[in-house]
């Protein structure tokens, strides 16, 4: 049973990353109509920013949690202003191709300087060690990642669904022209939305740095799994993305315990099943 709980915890952690990344993808898709292929690369940049902050400037984990999303978010906003905005009105597929190119560039540059091996990033002192819960041993850092990701996801949900800013955002998603007529600067909102989505990816990167090491290709394979998560959950609902992300992580963890050979493929197989049974995805709205 110990091993089962351990795998469940690993599943929840992976689920946190799926949730944070698919949430960002959904937010970006809503405003920009672009599937951000660079999301995995930006997640990796978040982890590397934390690494640089620690090793070049001596700035630790807690500040990195704040600074890395902002730095990578600003990088994302520059990308949006200089490139992505020129794609408005073109077929969605161009956005996919452009961001794929950006991902290749970013990953290639990092691979050149850091190779393919992982760089270690230490767990902060405050979160070292573990707790004995009676039925299992819980490393504190892992518990922290799950709880913190959940809080960030719910905060994002609250921001978009319950606040005035979120209302503007949702309105601009439905009808940007009308929202502009009310005097709201929609292009600026689009830029900020992209920054927000990218910031979430970078945050996930910082969270994963002590667990998975910092590698140039850490986001490359992850993003494909997240695409499958997005296909399963649909991008229509924020809460749907969060729940699907965590749920798939847990299912993956269970598979690792019961049938480890399939743990790489289970999310893709589930995607096929969902497409066969309910082609619009679990949360409904067809794109």
């Amino acid at each position: 049973m110990q091993a089962l709980y351990a795998q469940l915890l690993v599943g929840l952690i992976n689920g946190s990353f799926y949730a944070l990344l698919s949430l960002g993808l959904a937010v970006i898709f809503g405003m920009l109509n672009i599937i951000n292929f660079a999301h995995g690369a930006l997640y990796m940049m978040g982890a590397f920013t934390a690494y640089f902050l620690l090793n070049l400037f001596g700035i630790g984990y807690w500040w990195a949690l704040l600074i890395a999303p902002i730095v990578v978010g600003i990088f994302g906003m520059i990308l949006e202003r200089t490139m992505l905005q020129w794609l408005a009105g073109l077929d969605h597929l161009y956005g996919l191709l452009l961001t794929f190119g950006i991902a290749l560039i970013v990953q290639g540059v990092f691979q050149n300087y850091f190779g393919s091996s992982g760089l270690p990033y230490a767990i902060p002192d405050e979160l070292k060690g573990g707790m004995n819960l009676g039925f299992m041993f819980l490393p504190i850092y892992r518990g922290w990642v799950v709880v913190f990701s959940l809080v960030v996801c719910l905060a994002t949900w609250f921001l978009i669904e319950k606040t005035r800013l979120g209302a503007y955002l949702r309105a601009a998603t439905e009808n940007p022209t009308l929202v502009r007529a009310f005097g709201i600067n929609v292009p600026r909102m689009i830029t900020l939305t992209y920054g927000l989505g990218v910031g979430l990816a970078a945050l996930a990167g910082v969270l994963s740095a002590p667990i998975n090491q910092v590698r140039p290709l850490m986001g490359a394979d992850l993003i494909i799994v997240v695409f499958a998560v997005v296909v399963i959950g649909g991008m229509g609902s924020i809460m749907g993305s969060i729940i699907t992300g965590f749920a798939l992580g847990v299912i993956e963890g269970l598979t690792k315990y019961f049938y480890p050979e399939a743990s790489n493929t289970v999310v893709f197989v589930l995607m096929v099943l969902v497409l066969l049974i309910k082609p619009t995805g679990l949360t409904g709205r067809a794109a």
């Binding site: 009105g89 695409f227 893709f268």
Partner: protein
């Protein structure tokens, strides 16, 4: 919203004539390659990728479906052919048939799943499916995992064509390429191809006219996958190995890049694009990871400034359909 290939000219007798002239010129140029002293291995490899890119282009350029997983056909057919030739000892033509048929079956299955969603979702689904296959091949015993299938015997095709002789192999690959190319060319200009174009332009209207668009898309997907698989089977005899690189998503990206550089939705664009990208990889092989960065830069540059691609721009300038 402007479609990917919004300025393709309508089919006309003149367009057909132009295209036939270019086709004959291309066939003649390729046929004299062995006499020129150009390294035939490079041209053979480029021809396989050119056919692959043409098959991909059939989907995106004429059906509006961007498959981000076409490497799965290349790699799967390669594995099937390689296994049949090496382990079962069948002759090359049987090996090619096995590989191509395998890709066709794969096309039926993956097509049935992926055409259930349109646009951007279709791309994500094909990418995820190819990643699924990648992991299956990584673990399946017959692919030999990371090592791949090495040292595949080239054998004698139809008992007489000794494929270990570069010149004979070259002409076999060339004939295979031209046959595949003509099949795609014929499909595009058939009534079936016209319906595909109408789906690309406006799927709802095609449905309202009574076309079962899902069946057309599935047929196009299977055809494209089969031809891509055929290219993969041919490539086995050129490279003499089958490995995981051919199933990886980076390969799918390269196929997209070749077609984008040459021109999405043009007839000859994918061929030109494949030659450019393969040549680039040959000359830049010493730069290691920078090749990926350069590919990324080309992607970005093409999407931002050069969306018609090389052949598309030329055709647009001369107002010809190429």
């Amino acid at each position: 919203m402007s479609a990917l290939t919004d300025d393709t000219l309508p089919a006309s007798p003149r367009a057909m004539r132009d295209e036939m002239i270019v086709f004959v010129a291309m066939a003649v140029l390729l046929a004299i390659v062995p006499a020129t002293g150009i390294y035939p291995f490079f041209v053979m490899q480029a021809l396989c990728f050119a056919l692959l890119a043409c098959a991909f282009n059939l989907l995106i350029g004429f059906g509006g479906l961007l498959s981000f997983g076409h490497a799965m056909f290349l790699g799967s057919a390669g594995y099937f052919t390689a296994h049949a030739v090496k382990e079962w000892g069948v002759s090359p033509e049987i090996g090619i048939i096995i590989g191509t048929a395998g890709a066709a079956v794969l096309g039926v299955i993956t097509g049935y799943v992926s055409i259930r969603r349109q646009g951007i979702y279709f791309s994500m689904i094909t990418l995820a499916l190819s990643q699924l296959l990648y992991f299956i091949y990584l673990q399946a015993p017959f692919t030999h995992g990371e090592d791949g299938i090495q040292g595949i015997p080239q054998g004698k095709m139809f008992w007489v064509l000794d494929l270990s002789k570069p010149t004979i192999l070259y002409y076999v690959v060339l004939v295979g390429f031209l046959a595949g190319f003509l099949l795609i060319f014929r499909t595009i200009n058939s009534p079936f191809g016209e319906v595909l174009k109408s789906i690309r332009e406006n799927e709802q209207r095609a449905i309202s006219l009574g076309y079962k668009t899902d069946q057309y898309k599935l047929m196009a997907f299977i055809l494209s996958g089969t031809i891509a698989g055929f290219a993969g089977s041919l490539k086995v005899f050129v490279a003499q190995n089958a490995s995981l690189t051919d199933v990886h998503w980076t390969m799918s990206g390269e196929i997209v890049l070749m077609t984008l550089v040459g021109g999405l939705g043009t007839i000859f664009g994918p061929v030109v694009g494949a030659f450019i990208i393969i040549a680039m990889q040959q000359y830049l092989a010493g730069f290691g990871q920078w090749v990926l960065v350069i590919q990324g830069v080309i992607f970005v540059a093409c999407v931002l400034t050069f969306r018609r691609g090389l052949v598309g721009e030329i055709g647009h300038y001369f107002r010809r359909s190429l």
